[in-house]
Symmetry: C2
Subunit: 446 residues, 2 copies
């Protein structure tokens, strides 16, 4: 008898798990249950279709359900909702979204990849027409339809996280006057010089940013949104976009008694195993170990979902893989600017009990005399007690996302800033300066 | 009495040393002896002025001698030749290039930064008009003048190292038909798929590349070059550019009895100290420790010269700094292509006694659906016995030089390929794919 793997979720975590389970064993049976009708598309790509940078939603779809099922020899139940997990019986109760009776899918190994859903603020007006949150392809189609078929002039984006900034760019591209209202005084988690540089870019593109603006309510006229009230004032809005973070979708897991961990996400070990040894979790529904903080956190990101899915799939199919965790790397394009972060900010490092210090330096992306050299801001955070690097942030217009990777590797290796200074980083006048920004920052620590 | 530091050489190694000696101590006296009349310019930038990408040679000059001397409170003797070092007496014998008598400069600490000179092949015809090698600004001006004032149609570049490829690009930009003759079957040290990709780019730009073509001689008519003879055939040439590597300029050091090491360069320890404790060496005249090979090598590069100069300057001025060595990183632009390398090639790893294996993978620079995603080739070399990463090479059109840096950091930290796979590298659809090329390569190792 061959092992039977059931996977709940047909996006990054779930389908990566399915593909790696199949690569690990030709013989296991694999069934994927997905609520939606589309699978294997990039959620991260949705804003770029809405902005027009990518021509159609179809371009985000890597495989149709039929293609994926055939390629990986997987049973793919789209339009099916997993309603309960029974860990004692080892089965999942599933119902077709279009009605029909419940069926039980028995598993030897279960992978929960139920993802996350937008964390909606607790205010009135969320169900007015013109109020949106983005997560999946169907909502993106709805937003696109709404933008095409209504004469809209002003937009309010609630939340200046990375999705909020991406959506601000989308709405500018669609010709709207955009206001971002943000509870804190940060942009995408950045403070200080990098926050100022992002703000400058947003302002240059006509986006108004209101900091310290907690959302109080959304008002409408005849059922359609017209205004947003915040602690800092009221803003006209023909469309409102809520980008106030996400919550792990753990109803099923909670119902089954799986232990929940950081941020209410499913607790997992480094094999992506939950508190039940035959149940794995992967992707935005699960916590992830933070190597610099030395504890699990909730930090849902596409790359992490893919790595977790791979590890869960390999282990469920009888292989052996581990995911040691993240160092907190992410990157963002804001119009023509790139910003990237890895590790801890100064505030996070101080909160975590480090005797942390911060160095901020300005540098350039190529030799200063070479055409196209762009300014870079680099910030490193380190522990004064041990000299250990704790975090790095960068901002600029050239190869910033890939420049942060060297700091991510350094954090993984627990390097000290005096190790950074020794790094043999590439140099060629058209591609990089003799002293990389990171080295200049490291040179200034003592 | 304050310490007296004498530095021989006014380019990357020497002037970096001078600036860091001054930053380390406000009180030491610093004298720099430089043969040429110009200092503090980027040798690496010379090809880009010759190609027209940079408007003038002056743009490469960071400081005039007067500016540098004033800024760092340094005595700068340009147009002066150091003719001998007397370590017993602790002095350097110096003569003005324009004649005059020898003077003795006494030092407490000496820094030798005499650089390198082109390694000329042992063939006839080297002194024909139209035969050039490039190292310093004066030669670059001569080449520029020759290109402007002669009607040239065909050029031969001897040697397909990084300088040879850069000069081929220069000569194409100046409207010449260019042939590269190369002794081996490699381009800039790259073999296999990356060599093929570079060859394809060169060919698309009209450059002819002749491999396995050892130079036999250079022929001329009436004192001017007309033809190059190689083992693979003869090539018409109105101008010939020799890019057959460099040799450390160690005549002075040898005369003073300094121990020579790898590649005949000045042997140094990690404080850049030579076999005499009061004499340091830095830059292209000195060897460098190779962290992956675990031994000193001769690998003259601009970044290394800067790091060595900094360490020599700090130590000579009574501070304490060390340079732990290189992992062999370099990057190159070939027309619109970037190629970068770090660590060992398969051949070097096998030669060094590793049970080495190579993985080559193709990937992309952004999410596949995002406009402007460019193909990447990545190659990793690892030790099958321990799983340790030994080298990485990449080629493509977007952020390749900065993508290699993460592998350089991994080599410094002696990571295994299964560590690479754990790295938390940045992802955002416009900036990077979910699975970075390096991770895809690491995923394929077992």
């Amino acid at each position: 008898m061959f092992q039977k793997i059931v996977i709940i979720g047909g996006l990054a975590g779930g389908l990566t798990a399915a593909s790696w389970a199949r690569r690990t064993s030709a013989e296991v049976s694999i069934t994927v249950v997905e609520r939606g009708l589309e699978v294997a598309y990039s959620e991260c790509g949705l804003p770029y279709v809405l902005s027009g940078e990518i021509g159609s939603f179809e371009q985000l779809v890597r495989y149709t359900p039929q293609e994926f099922a055939a390629r990986y020899n997987v049973e793919l139940l789209t339009g099916h909702i997993a309603e309960a997990i029974d860990p004692r019986q080892g089965c999942v109760e599933v119902r077709s979204a279009s009605g029909g009776s419940r069926v039980r899918l028995y598993y030897d190994q279960l992978i929960v990849a139920t993802g996350a859903s937008p964390a909606m603020p607790a205010v009135a007006g969320l169900n007015l027409a013109g109020v949106f949150a983005l997560r999946h392809l169907p909502e993106a189609r709805t937003i696109d339809f709404y933008l095409r078929n209504n004469r809209l002039r002003s937009a309010v984006v609630v939340g200046a996280g990375w999705l909020g900034l991406e959506m601000a760019e989308v709405l500018v591209a669609r010709g709207l006057r955009v206001t971002i209202v943000e509870r804190t005084s940060r942009l995408a988690g950045f403070s200080g010089e990098i926050c100022s540089a992002i703000l400058e870019e947003l302002t240059a593109q006509g986006v108004r940013v209101c900091f310290e603006s907690e959302l109080l309510g959304i008002d409408g006229i005849a059922g359609t949104v017209s205004r947003v009230s915040t602690r800092s004032g009221e803003y006209d809005a023909d469309i409102v976009f809520l980008a106030t973070g996400v919550r792990p979708a753990v109803e099923l897991a909670r119902g089954a008694g799986l232990r929940l961990g950081a941020g209410g996400a499913i607790a997992v070990n480094e094999r992506q195993m939950t508190s039940y040894p035959d149940i794995y979790a992967a992707g935005d529904c699960s916590e992830v170990y933070h190597i610099v903080l030395n504890r699990p956190v909730y930090l849902p990101l596409g790359t992490t979902a893919n790595k977790q899915g791979r590890v869960a799939g390999i282990n469920a199919a009888g292989g052996r893989a581990q995911f040691r965790g993240v160092v907190g790397t992410s990157a963002l394009k804001v119009f023509s600017l790139e910003a990237a972060t890895t590790g801890l900010s100064l505030e996070e490092a101080l909160q975590a009990g480090y005797r942390a210090s911060r160095i901020v330096k300005r540098s350039i992306s190529r030799a200063g005399y070479y055409p196209g050299a762009e300014r870079l801001i680099v910030e490193i955070v380190y522990d004064e007690a041990t000299g250990r690097l704790l975090g790095c942030r960068m901002c600029g217009r050239e190869a910033v996302a890939k420049r942060i990777d060297v700091a991510a590797a350094a954090l993984y290796a627990k390097m000290r800033v005096d190790d950074l200074l020794q790094l043999d980083l590439s140099y060629a006048p058209p591609l990089a300066p003799v002293w990389e920004a990171l080295l200049i920052a490291a040179r200034s620590c003592h």
